[in-house]
Symmetry: C2
Subunit: 341 residues, 2 copies
C-alpha cells in the first residue's frame, strides 16, 4: 500500500533549498552567463545533492524547443537503413538531440500516421527515406514548417530537400556495365516497388539504358521479391527450371544478389562465366565473398551524418535544409564478366 512515490525534485525544490528563485535555477541549468559564480555553485550543489534533472516536457512547453529529431525508416532489418539511422543518431546525439525513431515497414499509409505522431511529439526535424510520401505527409510538413530531408534520393526536378543519390543513374550504370560487357539477355530481380520509389527509379534507369542500346529486359527473368537471401535463391531456381535464365541478373540489393549467387553456386552455374550478377548497397561482406559481388556503393552512413548536420544547421540558421547529391559509384568486382560465347 505504501507506494511512497517520492516524486522527482523540481526547480522549486532546488530554489527553496538553495534560497533562490526558480528563475535563477533555470538560468543555472541553461548556462546563463548572468548568474554570479558563487550563486551558481550553490545551486549546482543542491541540484547534485537532490539528483535533480530537468523535466523535458515542461521545458518544451515553456520554451517551445524539444531538442528532439525524428526518423522514419522502412525497416531496421536492412543493414543499409540501420547504418544510416545509426549515423544519424550518433551525429544528433553529439549535439544533445534525442532521436524519435519509427519504422514504417515500407507502408506509406503507416508512415503518415508515424510522421504525425512524431510531429505531435514536437520533433524539430525529420529524416525520411526516399521522395515518395503521402500527400498528407507533405502537407503536414509544409504547414508545420518542419525541417526535413528525404535521403536515398536525388531528384532535383522535384524541388524537395534531398540528401542522397540518383537511383536512376545507379540503375543506368548497372545496365551500361552489363551491356558494355556484351550482355543482351538481362533480367531484373528487384525489391517490391509498391511504396518504394528507389526501386522504381532503379528499374527506370535500367530500362532506359537498355532501350538506348536497343535492348529490353528479359521479362521472363524479371520479377519483384522481398529482400531476403532465401527469396533470391528461390527466384534463381525458378528461372533455371523455367529455362528463362538470362546471361545477367541485376538484383535489387546485395541480399537478393547473395541469394542468387549462392543458389547459382549450389547449382554449379559458373559465376560470372555463365551468369553475371549485380547487387546494390555494398554490404561489408560483399567484397570478401568469392566471387566478390559487383554492386553499387550506397553511402548509407554518409547520408545519415549529412542529413543530421543539414537539419541541425537548418534549425540553427532558420533556413531551409540544403540539398546535396552524393555519389553511389558502381563497384565492378568478380560477379560480372562478358557472357560465355
Amino acid at each position: 500500500m505504501v507506494d511512497e512515490a517520492e516524486k522527482q525534485p523540481t526547480q522549486l525544490d532546488i530554489a527553496r533549498k538553495a534560497g533562490v528563485s526558480t528563475a535563477t535555477v533555470s538560468r543555472v541549468l541553461n548556462g546563463s552567463p548572468l548568474v554570479k559564480p558563487a550563486l551558481r555553485a550553490r545551486v549546482e550543489a543542491v541540484i547534485e545533492q537532490l539528483g535533480y534533472y530537468p523535466h523535458a516536457a515542461a521545458r518544451a512547453l515553456a520554451s517551445n524547443r524539444t531538442f528532439t529529431l525524428g526518423a522514419v525508416v522502412p525497416t531496421l532489418n536492412n543493414a543499409i537503413f540501420a547504418a544510416c539511422t545509426n549515423a544519424f543518431e550518433r551525429e544528433i546525439q553529439a549535439s544533445n538531440y534525442t532521436l524519435l525513431l519509427a519504422v514504417s515497414n515500407y507502408d506509406l499509409g503507416a508512415e503518415e500516421v508515424l510522421v504525425r505522431r512524431l510531429l505531435e511529439r514536437g520533433v524539430e526535424g525529420l529524416l525520411l527515406i526516399g521522395n515518395a510520401h503521402s500527400e498528407a505527409v507533405y502537407e503536414l510538413l509544409a504547414r508545420t514548417r518542419t525541417n526535413y530531408v528525404n535521403t536515398w534520393a536525388w531528384e532535383p526536378q522535384l524541388q524537395l530537400p534531398n540528401i542522397g543519390f540518383s537511383n536512376r543513374r545507379a540503375g543506368a550504370a548497372l545496365a551500361d556495365h552489363l551491356v558494355g560487357l556484351g550482355h543482351r539477355r538481362i533480367g531484373l530481380v528487384s525489391g517490391i516497388a509498391e511504396g518504394n520509389d528507389r526501386v522504381r527509379e532503379r528499374a527506370i534507369g535500367v530500362r532506359e539504358r537498355l532501350a538506348a542500346h536497343g535492348l529490353a529486359l528479359e521479362e521472363a527473368a524479371t520479377t519483384e521479391i522481398r529482400y531476403s537471401v532465401r527469396e533470391g535463391r528461390r527466384v534463381l531456381g525458378e528461372f533455371v527450371e523455367a529455362g528463362t535464365l538470362p546471361t545477367a541478373l541485376i538484383c535489387g540489393n546485395d541480399v537478393i544478389a547473395l541469394g542468387v549467387l549462392l543458389e547459382a553456386m549450389e547449382r554449379k552455374i559458373p559465376v560470372p562465366e555463365a551468369l553475371s550478377i549485380t547487387g546494390f548497397d555494398n554490404l561489408p561482406l560483399t567484397e570478401h565473398i568469392r566471387p566478390a559481388l559487383t554492386t553499387i556503393d550506397v553511402p548509407a552512413s554518409a547520408m545519415g551524418h549529412l542529413a543530421a548536420r543539414a537539419i541541425l544547421s537548418a534549425i540553427g540558421d532558420g533556413v531551409p535544409v540544403a540539398s546535396r547529391e552524393l555519389e553511389a559509384p558502381l563497384l565492378v568486382r568478380e560477379t560480372t564478366a562478358p557472357p560465355a560465347a
Copy 2:
C-alpha cells in the same frame, strides 16, 4: 521579414470554434464516453477542419504520461541489435507508443548520459542490452521507478529484470560440441570484452566447460577483435602465419566467423576438415553459405517483442517487469566436424 508563423491550433481554438469548453475537446480527443455523439461530431469536425493535433509536451505535463519508451543499444550496425530494436519498435508502435532510441557505441559511460537523457524525456520504460550498466544507471532506474528490462542476458542470481538467454550456457554448448567432436586445441576469437558482459559470459562458459574436460583455451589462438569480417580474416591470417592455428575456432559472432571462414577458404584451409569454426547470432546468411555455419541461434526479434510486451504490461498493471528466459540453441551445421586425425 514576414514569417507569418501561423501557429498550430490549440484546444482553445477548437473549443471556441465549436462553442464548447476545452474540457470537452480534451474528452473528445481522449475518447471519453461521456460526450454526447452530436457534440463529439461537431468537435471532431472542427478538429479536422483546423488540422489540429495534440501537443504531446503539454499533454505529458498535465497527465504525467508520455506514451514513450526508450531503448539504448550498443549499435545498430549489428544486424542482431537492429532486429531487436525493429521488433521492439513495431510492438510498441501497435500500442501507440513512440520509441526514443539511443546508441551507446558499447560505452557504459556514454550509456549513462543517454539513459539520463531518456529519463528526462519521460520515457515510461526502457530496453537495455545486457546486465552490465553503470551504478549510476541502476540508481537512476531505481530512484525513478522506471520499468526496464535487460535483454540479451539471463542471470537470475543477479535479480535483475532479464528477458534473454544465458550467454554462459551458450558458450558452454559451443565448447561441449567441439570437445565432443574430439577437439583438444581450441581457440577463441571473441568481441571486445570491455563494457560487454555478453562477451565475458560466453568466454567464461567456454573456459569452464573446457576445464571440466581437462582442457584449456589455446591462448596463442585466443584474442579479442571488433566485430567485422575484415578483422576476422586478419586474425585467421595471423594465426596461420604464427603457426598457432588450432583445430577449432570459436568466434564471437557470425560476422567474425564469416571473416575467419572466408579467409580460411582463401588460404585453402579445408573447413571443417582442417579447421572447425563456430559463430554466434545465426544471421540469415549463415545457413545459406557453404559450408553452412555452425552457430548459436540468438532470439533477437523475440527479445524485442517480448521486452516490449513485458514493459507495456508492467506499465499497465503497475507491477515490475517479469523476467523470462529464452532459448539460444546450438545449430550444428557444416563448419564443425571431428579434427583431422
